[in-house]
Structures are given as structure tokens and as C-alpha cells.
Symmetry: C2
């Protein structure tokens, strides 16, 4: 009777299988160490008792939490459809983690300082083997903090502001926004559009330098592509391009304003590449209002909004981002999270994935 209420332990399995608990442990963790016949006996006992190891005990003894931590933000954070993308990323991260028998612990933090405090506590309580950072930026103090604490981590987002993205000493995975926007732009060009505007986000763009933010990266994707397609480059081409690009915020209303400015200044506007689905929706609605139904609009993120309104967008392919992140943190075939050895794995630890152009 009392036996029924207690979940079975490794001792019960050992007894039923007629082996020691150590052999049971080996069957579960290093099956190749155990003779097939013994292994089968143990596995049968595991099955008949419906045994699942107590994870706290395993963690305590092995000093591995088999968990990764990721921050979740409120929807009110900047970016109209941020909730979507974050939700998808968290979903894909859990899927990828579960495939590798890793748990995902979600935490919140209002400010960067709060996040660092919280990360410190999570690390010291031995409750995580690795951290996934998102929304990293130039001189992000979290990178330094985690580096100092010698904890494995990875950022979803390339290290903005670095000369050589591939020289950083922390691993990252990102979507190549410039390449995605370039592909969208080239697709429009190929379809015959010739006056392709860009509706982006206001950034602290320093002309000639490498991108320092997501918004700038995407803008450069459009600009470089048009320079290449429309002319030989040079000062004149740059000048005429600058009239085709407008910048604002991440909101539908700002997208509407950008659309109006483009309508005002570009006589034969026939397409607009947008930095996001939000901005794209603003443009689309404004063009509809102005009865300019022939102007083609593309977005970014492939949110349900782009599906519903039927405009082309770029899918971040977050499933692949998530599985790449874990492949870096755990090794291609590894089963535990460890610091990346940059001497040996420099290239593999920095992954730039191409977004998928979804034409509609």
C-alpha cells in the first residue's frame, strides 16, 4: 500500500532486474558499457516499473542541471509583433532542447541590470548549464558578465559593432537580415519592378561602416542590392537611392507615414521593401487608402499578419536557429552543454542563417 504511493527508484529497478543500482545507472547513461543481456533485463525492469530517474538526484550528483535558461519579455516591449517572434523562438527552443533531453527554464527581467542579477543567482544555484541571450546589442554588458562567470552561453543575434563578426569569443547564431532583404529586393527587380523603395527603422547609421543594428543591416541589404542591380554604384547612384529610403519606428502608424512620404517623393514608386511586417502592414494599408493597389510590399518575420494580408515576407526559420544554437552549445552529437573550445571550433560557433523568402 505504501509502496504504491512512492514512485519507483533505481533501487527497485536493480532489485527487479537482479543487478546493482550502478548497473542500472550505466544502462541509462552509458548503455554501451553494459552487456546486451544485462541491459535487456534492466530495460525490462525499467519498463515494468515505469521508472523515470529522479532528476534532482541526478543533477546533484552529476553536477549538471541539463537545463538552459532563456528570458521571456512582455508583449508591451517595443515591436508590435515581437510577442509572436519571441513565442515562436521559445517554442522552437523547447522543442530542440527536448530532443536533446534538456529542459528550458524561462525567466523575466525588467532591466539589463536586473537580468544580470538574476543570471548570477541562477548560475550560483546551479540551476542552469547554459544561457540563451536574445536582443544583444553593441557593448552588451551581459556578454561580459557571462564570460567572467565562465558559464556556457550563446546569443541569438550577432555581435553588433564588431569589425569581424567571426572573431568574437562567444558563440552566436543569427539570421542574415541583409541577405534576406537582398533576396526580396532582387526578387522584385527580377519581376520587373524598378522603383523599389525601402521603409526602415531610424538607426544611428554611420555611412560606410558595418551594420551596428538589425535595422541598419536590413537597410544595407536593400541598398547594396539596388546599387548592384541599378547601376555601377558611384556617388550618383547612391544619391538617387537615398531618396528611395525612409525611416521611422516599429509601428503600423509609422509604416503609414513612411508610405505617404514615399508616395510624395517617388513618382513612379512600384514596390517597397519593409524592415518588418509591422511597417509593411502600415504601408499596405496606406497604399490601399490611396488606391495604389499596384505597389508591391514585402515584410520581414513572416508573422500571421503577412499571411493574412497576403504580402511577401521573410521567415526567420526559428526552428533552425534553435537547433543550431543547441548544436553549438552541446556539439553536433554531444549530450551535454559545455563551453565552446574556440581553438577547435571557431567557425562552427558562429552561424549566420539565411531567412526564407515566402513569396505571396
Amino acid at each position: 500500500m505504501s509502496k504504491k504511493t512512492r514512485p519507483s527508484s533505481i533501487l527497485d529497478v536493480a532489485e527487479v532486474a537482479g543487478v546493482s543500482i550502478q548497473t542500472v545507472s550505466n544502462v541509462l547513461n552509458f548503455p554501451e558499457r553494459v552487456r546486451p543481456r544485462t541491459r535487456d533485463q534492466v530495460l525490462q525492469a525499467v519498463k515494468s516499473l515505469d521508472y523515470t530517474p529522479n532528476l534532482s538526484a541526478r543533477r546533484l550528483r552529476s553536477k549538471k542541471s541539463s537545463s538552459i535558461s532563456v528570458r521571456v519579455d512582455a508583449n508591451s516591449s517595443p515591436g508590435l509583433f515581437r510577442g509572436f517572434i519571441q513565442n515562436d523562438f521559445v517554442y522552437e527552443l523547447i522543442e530542440a532542447a527536448e530532443n536533446r533531453h534538456i529542459k528550458v527554464i524561462a525567466y523575466t527581467a525588467g532591466t539589463e541590470k536586473q537580468e544580470i542579477d538574476k543570471l548570477g543567482r541562477i548560475i550560483k544555484s546551479r540551476d542552469t548549464d547554459g544561457i540563451i541571450l536574445t536582443s544583444t546589442h553593441v557593448d552588451d554588458p551581459r556578454l561580459d558578465f557571462l564570460e567572467r562567470n565562465n558559464v556556457p552561453f550563446l546569443s541569438f543575434g550577432k555581435p553588433w559593432g564588431h569589425e569581424n563578426l567571426y572573431s568574437t569569443t562567444h558563440p552566436w547564431v543569427d539570421i542574415d537580415g541583409a541577405a534576406g532583404i537582398a533576396e526580396a529586393t532582387a526578387m522584385l527587380w527580377k519581376k520587373g519592378y524598378r522603383n523599389i523603395g525601402f521603409a526602415g527603422w531610424e538607426t544611428n547609421n554611420v555611412p560606410g561602416e558595418s551594420a551596428r543594428s538589425v535595422g541598419e543591416d536590413r537597410y544595407l541589404g536593400w541598398k547594396e542590392t539596388l546599387l548592384k542591380l541599378a547601376g555601377k554604384g558611384g556617388r550618383r547612384a547612391e544619391l538617387s537611392l537615398s531618396a528611395l529610403a525612409v525611416f521611422g519606428e516599429q509601428s503600423i502608424e509609422s509604416g503609414r507615414q513612411s508610405a505617404r512620404r514615399l508616395l510624395d517623393t517617388v513618382p513612379n514608386l512600384d514596390a517597397v521593401v519593409c524592415v518588418s511586417d509591422t511597417v509593411a502592414l502600415g504601408c499596405l494599408l496606406e497604399f490601399q487608402r490611396a488606391s495604389k493597389h499596384n505597389i508591391c510590399v514585402t515584410g520581414f518575420d513572416n508573422t500571421p499578419i503577412s499571411k493574412e494580408f497576403g504580402f511577401t515576407s521573410l521567415d526567420q526559420n526559428l526552428a533552425e536557429v534553435a537547433s543550431s544554437a543547441l548544436a553549438i552549445l552541446m556539439g553536433e552529437k554531444g549530450n551535454q552543454i559545455r563551453k565552446v573550445d574556440f581553438a577547435a571550433e571557431q567557425t562552427a560557433a558562429h552561424v549566420l542563417l539565411k531567412p526564407i523568402l515566402v513569396v505571396r
Copy 2:
């Protein structure tokens, strides 16, 4: 040197404070048991060593995981803005949990059967003290499963199909959709609107019975309110009302269709109460296209979409849903998750919260 790499343990704290490890443990878990002077010594040692207890050890010994589990779905799941709401709920749940020193573990599951399998493993691995279920429905097998496994759980969502919501033997928290929609409808009436339509979701509504789904619940909120305001009820009033309600799916396009049907059949239509922001957006866009700018539209969920497009909506108040859920699972002031004792807490374990009408 080797000391620097190892995080401090309860032994280190005991040594610095000049007490036993047991007293350190008491200071952290039952401070009132310890003499203030001793307590201060210990707390100072904790601070100077920057000590945080090893959670795996604590969990193993105390047989409490201090964690709750919640399922996260992909955005592609039905419901255009579902990702938003889920993301917000998860965010608020983490916030509420962290306030009570509880961790949130997120898991995924494709089907209900998979979810039950996964829950079984989570429970047996002693990795959760409680489960938060969402999207429960009539005869949900997960409820039975968790009941049988004797694990504390709570559903966000009332037990659809039960005669008496408050008689179920499992705790739940929900938003009172009917009351919210009723408030929106009454607000419109008070403002002078008299031909208030309803755009809802197709449901298996059985006339006269209590609501069996979210969509039906919301529909009834509109219907009851108009019956009360517009007349004495009775067969004639019901009939005239039925022409004012149209049903479809959870998509913008379906919302557009609903709007067209209402325009066709209701001559003086001046407002439409919608079952969701998604449907409301469809209606709004369709009315704009038809230049019926004077028809007032309301939504549900207060997503960023309703903010951006400036229509009235009902906020689910997920922060309160989350903190109520934990108050039920842990007791108003408790610090651990336990099964609710229904003999003692019947009322408190079933909480119906009113959504907040956000007028725009």
C-alpha cells in the same frame, strides 16, 4: 585557488558565521526559529560569500521541486493572435512564480496524448510540483490524468460543459468572457448605439444550455445583454436578435465576411461586438472599405492590434490570472504548492475574473 572556482556551499557559510550548517539552513528557510543575533551573523556570512543554495540539493532533500510546468504552443496553432496571448500569459506566470520563488519549466506537446505522456514523465522525474493547463475543453482527458496522478494542477479556463462550474474537484481560473462582452455591449448601448451586431465563432451551441466553449460564452454575453436592454425578452426579441449575430472562424478574412453579411442583413447597423480582436480587425477593415466609418467595432484580448487600429477591446488581465493561479496552488500566503483541500477552500479555488474594458 581551487577555492575560487568552487561556488560557496552551506558549509562555507556555517564556518564563516561560526554556526552549524543546520542553523544556516534554518536562517534561510525558517528565520523565525533562529535568534536574531545568530540570524544576523549568518546573513552577513551569506552576503560576504555571495551564497546561493544549490537548488538540486534542496530539491532532492526536501522532495519539492519548487517548479511549475506549462505548455507552450507554436504560433501556427489556431487563432491569429494566439501567440500574443500565450506569450503574455507565460510572461505573467513567470513573474508571479518568481515572486514566490518558483521556477517555470516550459514544455511542448503536439497532441493531447503526447502531452499526457510528457506530463507523466515530468511528474515521475519529480521535476514539477504543479501543472498549469491551458485550453481545456469538455471532457478534457488531461484533467482526469492529473487527478489520478494526484499532482496539484490548475486550469486556466473554466470546466466547459459542467452544470455547476463551482462543483468541479479541480481548481481553475478564468476570464469571464460573457461579463466582458456584456460590459462592452452595455457601453455601446449607453452611448446610443441601438443596432448592435455580434460577430462570433461558429460553435455547437445548444440553445438554452450553459456555454460549452469560449465562443459560446462570449456570444451569450452579447445576447443576454441585448435581451435585457432592448426588451422584455420573449420569443419575438430572440428572433430579432438572431438576425444580428453572425458566426465564422478566427481569421481576419472571416471577420470581413461577417461584416459583409451584417451589412447585407442589418439595415441600420451601427456597432458590432466581436468575439476577438482578429475578427474585429476583419470587420473594421471591411467597414472602412465600404466607407462605413461610423460603425463602431469592439474586440477581445486587447492585443497590440486593437491598440494600433484604435478600437475598443477587453483586456484579459493575465497578470491577475497568473497571480490568482499561484494563490490557489500555494495558498494566499503559502510558499509551497499543494493539492487544494476542497472541503476547506471550495470557493477560493474557482476564480472568475472580469476582463477590463479598454475603451478607445
